[in-house]
Symmetry: C2
Subunit: 192 residues, 2 copies
């Protein structure tokens, strides 16, 4: 779609693109695997570990009793190529793969994805829309996963400080559709 | 519930309370009427004009083609006693009633409700939780309604500038429950 001048689009010197799309569809694991495209529904990505209109409150939602059914605003997690590279450099590793973080999208071309404010919209070429629900605060699970994959003891404890403010965002679905590897993304920060 | 020190609660010199709860259940009208309490479900307030998991994109959501089905993030609208008083004073009127604005809640005791950031949580005594989706930008409909109720020609054109940044917020439901007149509200701004 053409950019409407009355809307606040994020300007970027380069295109913001979808580097990879991934799904967490292995029972018992948060690790994702890359696909050419993923469908998104109001409840998230069908077959994905985080699919659902509702989810149980966990340690992240301290304002609710653990296990309380709440609206699922952590349907889709997004990391950026640039921030994953920064995390890797800070951990003295050659790379951090989106699969290890359980990310559903890795995007490229946006400075500081993790600082994108809650309420920002991500718009894809077929009209699919996601709502940024805020920063995905680093937790121990991917830290341990990276350590076990790389077989390097001590890597886990370096993940949390290295990933702080760089671990990407979580999103929910505003408009259903398809997201494809190579898609160009428009980001809107005006409230809607 | 007791306040967890690891969470960012909004501090207020006075309690933040629910002054009135209201529903828009008259066919063809956005005007609300006060009730002692309202149930809230994942899709909003049953019987209310804005109830639904999905809604059609309208003039506010310019990034989508008009009529596109999108997630309903405008389920519940909230105004504050203090901001309604300010709007009334700026319009030289004795009062602005929440009914005229189609508000579902009027709250009291919070400075500048309209500036509450998207992603803030409002928590009610029985555990009900709402998510702030951002400012409710003033539109012409309540302006015309106020003019016709007060039978004062010219009032409509004074509403939009007077209500800017004072017209309250829209919310969606995170945790289902009941909201009652007189409830005390806790507001959390940390991301969750």
């Amino acid at each position: 779609m053409s950019q409407n001048p009355s809307i606040s689009w994020i300007e970027s010197t380069q295109s913001i693109t979808v580097e990879s799309v991934l799904v967490a569809d292995t029972k018992g694991s948060f690790v994702t695997r890359a696909l050419p495209e993923i469908p998104v529904e109001l409840a998230g990505i069908p077959g994905d570990r985080h699919y659902g209109l509702l989810r149980r409150a966990d340690a992240r939602q301290k304002i609710y009793k653990r296990g309380t059914m709440i609206a699922n605003r952590r349907q889709i997690s997004i990391v950026s190529y640039e921030e994953c590279l920064e995390i890797a450099q800070r951990m003295n590793l050659p790379e951090i793969r989106p699969e290890w973080l359980g990310a559903n999208l890795m995007i490229r071309g946006l400075e500081q994805l993790t600082l994108l404010p809650a309420g920002a919209r991500l718009l894809f070429p077929d009209g699919t829309g996601l709502i940024c629900e805020g920063e995905n605060v680093p937790c121990r699970k991917p830290a341990k996963m990276i350590e076990s994959i790389l077989e390097q003891p001590g890597v886990a404890s370096r993940f949390m400080p290295a990933a702080k403010k760089r671990r990407g965002i979580v999103c929910s679905v505003e408009r259903e559709g398809m997201i494809r590897q190579g898609d160009t993304i428009q980001i809107i920060t005006a409230h809607l």
